[in-house]
């Protein structure tokens, strides 16, 4: 199957095919023999043309893979997706960039805005204290604060929706 691998820096076109002894990767006219054995939940020992790697699949982030300890952010697009993109439909636009959730669990120590406030991209929205450090949550977009779902002094779990910007 044809796939496109995208990172923030570049793009690669590859062809993945499972054969009896593992995965065959064709890229740029070269053939790689890829064999992965799971050694722990989500952790693989990978041999690619006899080169050895330990690869971890990040449990919470679909696009993040850890190779020999180094996190790699990548997008793996299959033929269906590539075709949809040709038709002008890009699934990446679907995600609500203005809906901000807590990336870390912790204590909300300060909220800088009230609904209706205008904010600029990069402007601090609130502070969450975790692991003894104050962490500034910045707005990923410019817009108007629509909804604030937490209060100062409240403890939030990872993934909790905290603020919405439209």
């Amino acid at each position: 199957m044809k796939y496109e691998i995208n990172t923030s820096q570049r793009s690669l076109e590859v062809d993945f095919n499972f054969e009896s002894d593992g995965l065959i990767i064709n890229v740029d006219g070269k053939t790689l023999h890829f064999q992965a054995i799971q050694i722990h939940s989500g952790v693989y020992s990978v041999l690619v043309n006899n080169r050895s790697f330990v690869v971890g699949i990040c449990p919470n982030e679909a696009n993040r893979v850890n190779v020999n300890g180094t996190p790699i952010n990548l997008e793996l697009l299959d033929a269906v997706h590539l075709h949809l993109r040709e038709l002008g439909w890009d699934s990446m636009q679907e995600t609500k960039v203005g809906l901000i959730s807590a990336q870390i669990p912790g204590l909300v120590t300060k909220i800088f805005h009230v609904p209706g406030d205008e904010v600029k991209e990069g402007e601090p929205l609130l502070l969450i204290e975790a692991m003894k450090m104050e962490n500034e949550i910045k707005s990923p977009v410019s817009g108007v604060v629509q909804k604030i779902s937490v209060n100062e002094g409240q403890t939030v779990e990872k993934g909790t929706n905290i603020i919405e910007i439209v």
Partner: protein
């Protein structure tokens, strides 16, 4: 010698102290919060007592409760580690008044040096130079702003009641001053229960260099040379080394004497650290004295062969120092990398969760002081430091090569860590040359993060292939016992492909 010691701390430092206690034949008592029932320090100890709920204010900072446990357990001494109660004069006093030995300096020395304002005032009476700045905590923001303008921006705002980068802010312009003071005060209040902050001059290409000192109750004070701690981010040390590549023997001698003089100025007893800023002209200024064991104390242990915790305990039991200044011999070079549960690629955001796989580096000259194990949950309640990797070798280049090897070998699966960030620092040419100062991170931030974000085509293909393989859940081998078998499904594949 003591028969039983309570360690009023958690994490790697609790284990560190317990190890030495056990080697000295001393039983160890742990205290733990509800979040830490199965934490490594509880499993390691001979005895363990629950002291309260997860938040440290209700457990590890609850000194009445800890004192109660000390009495109940029959501990003859209390080791506070670093952080938490280690620089709390009330705790030190109450422990002593209960007839239990506080393994640390007298409350009077903690009080003088723990309060940076009092420390400055004390140091101004000695020959040791200090950094220009306010001598009193900020009371009036307008007055403080004027002082800052007099000293000249950039200035540093620092917590009066604690260290370790918490409650610290650098301010480049007058317009940011008030906001920064507020943040520093809040962080300081939260970290140390003391919101007071003060102002200090920011020096040219400064090095953060500290000297380890030891002082006994018999009037002997010695130093064990320096640690170079200039690699910092968020005012938190990242990598430390000894000896410093910046210091020569002449300067080492002078600063060592200044460190001893500093300790003597407050009648210090125990292990302590005198921190200096050294500018590019090799002028040195007293910065602060940490009246406790320092996080980075192992680099000194590795080059001197001296167990600092053992010295602390011997001093606390009234024994004289087993070594004098002339007999301190250093050998080789040691480098410490602090490993934090933080995502370096997302502004060092704390990372919590289960450690699903753990491979700690080992081998010649490789030491890891940590408190983690495979299967453990990293919670948001405490400091994000997972441990410290210390590598020793016969010279600096070999020690850096060893550190790179060990970091490459280090695998913590399931959470984000600063392992790769440390690797990026160590392979940076300026760090390799040893010509860095405290601005290293600010100056080379982009390069470091570009290094972290760069991968070869091969690595990218491995990543993509693994993701594809994982999504298809193909199981090519029955070799492993703990992997779950799932059938390959094109539907699942297509679905996942879409989301990917």
């Amino acid at each position: 010698m003591f028969k039983k010691i309570l360690i009023a701390n958690r994490g790697e430092i609790a284990l560190r102290v317990m190890r030495t206690c056990r080697e000295m034949g001393i039983e160890v008592v742990a205290v733990f919060s509800e979040a830490d029932r199965t934490a490594p320090h509880v499993l390691f100890a001979d005895e363990a007592y629950l002291i309260g709920p997860a938040p440290s204010t209700e457990s590890y900072l609850n000194y009445e409760k800890i004192l109660e446990v000390a009495k109940e357990s029959g501990a003859e001494a209390v080791h506070p580690g670093y952080g938490f109660l280690s620089e709390n004069t009330d705790f030190a006093k109450e422990v002593s008044e209960a007839g239990i030995v506080f393994i640390g300096p007298p409350a009077s020395a903690i009080k003088i040096m723990g309060d940076k304002t009092m420390a400055r005032q004390t140091m101004l009476k000695t020959q040791v130079p200090v950094v220009p700045g306010t001598e009193e905590p900020i009371a009036d923001i307008a007055v403080a702003l004027n002082v800052a303008k007099e000293i000249g921006f950039p200035v540093l705002i620092k917590a009066a009641g604690g260290g370790g980068g918490k409650g610290m802010r650098i301010v480049h312009a007058a317009t940011d001053f008030e906001d920064a003071v507020g943040k520093a005060q809040r962080e300081s209040q939260s970290a140390f229960g003391d919101g007071r902050v003060y102002i200090e001059k920011y020096l040219e290409e400064p090095h953060h260099i500290e000297f380890q000192i030891l002082a006994d109750t018999h009037g002997n004070t010695i130093h064990l040379n320096e640690r170079e701690c200039s690699i910092q981010r968020r005012y938190q040390k990242v990598i430390e080394e000894s000896p410093s590549p910046f210091i020569d023997d002449g300067l080492r001698l002078k600063m060592g004497q200044a460190a001893v003089e500093t300790a003597e100025s407050c009648s210090y007893v125990g292990a302590g650290t005198v921190e200096f800023l050294v500018d590019k002209h090799r002028n040195y200024y007293f910065l602060e004295m940490n009246t406790r064991l320092q996080v980075e104390h192992p680099v000194t242990e590795m080059v001197t062969g001296i167990d600092l915790v053992a010295e602390q305990i011997r001093i606390a039991s009234g024994q004289p120092l087993s070594i004098d200044q002339e007999n301190i011999k250093t050998s080789g070079h040691a480098v410490e990398c602090r490993i934090y549960a933080e995502d370096a690629t997302h502004d060092f955001a704390p990372s919590t969760g289960e450690i699903v796989m753990l491979q700690i580096p080992d081998g010649t000259g490789t030491r890891f002081d940590g408190a983690i194990r495979q299967g453990i949950e990293i919670t948001p309640y405490y400091d994000p430091m997972l441990g410290k990797l210390i590598c020793w070798a016969k010279d600096r280049e070999s020690a850096l090569n060893r550190s790179e090897r060990a970091l490459r070998e280090f695998y913590i699966g399931g959470i984000e860590t600063t392992i790769q960030f440390c690797r990026a620092v160590i392979r940076h040419p300026v760090f390799r040359e040893g010509t860095y100062d405290t601005h290293f991170y600010a100056n080379f931030k982009d390069e470091l993060h570009a290094d972290l974000a760069t991968s070869t085509d091969e690595v990218l293909l491995v990543a993509a292939g693994s993701l594809y393989h994982h999504q298809n859940q193909i199981k090519h081998s029955s070799n492993t016992s703990n992997s779950t078998k799932k059938t390959r499904s094109n539907w699942v594949n297509a679905q996942l492909g879409r989301n990917a």
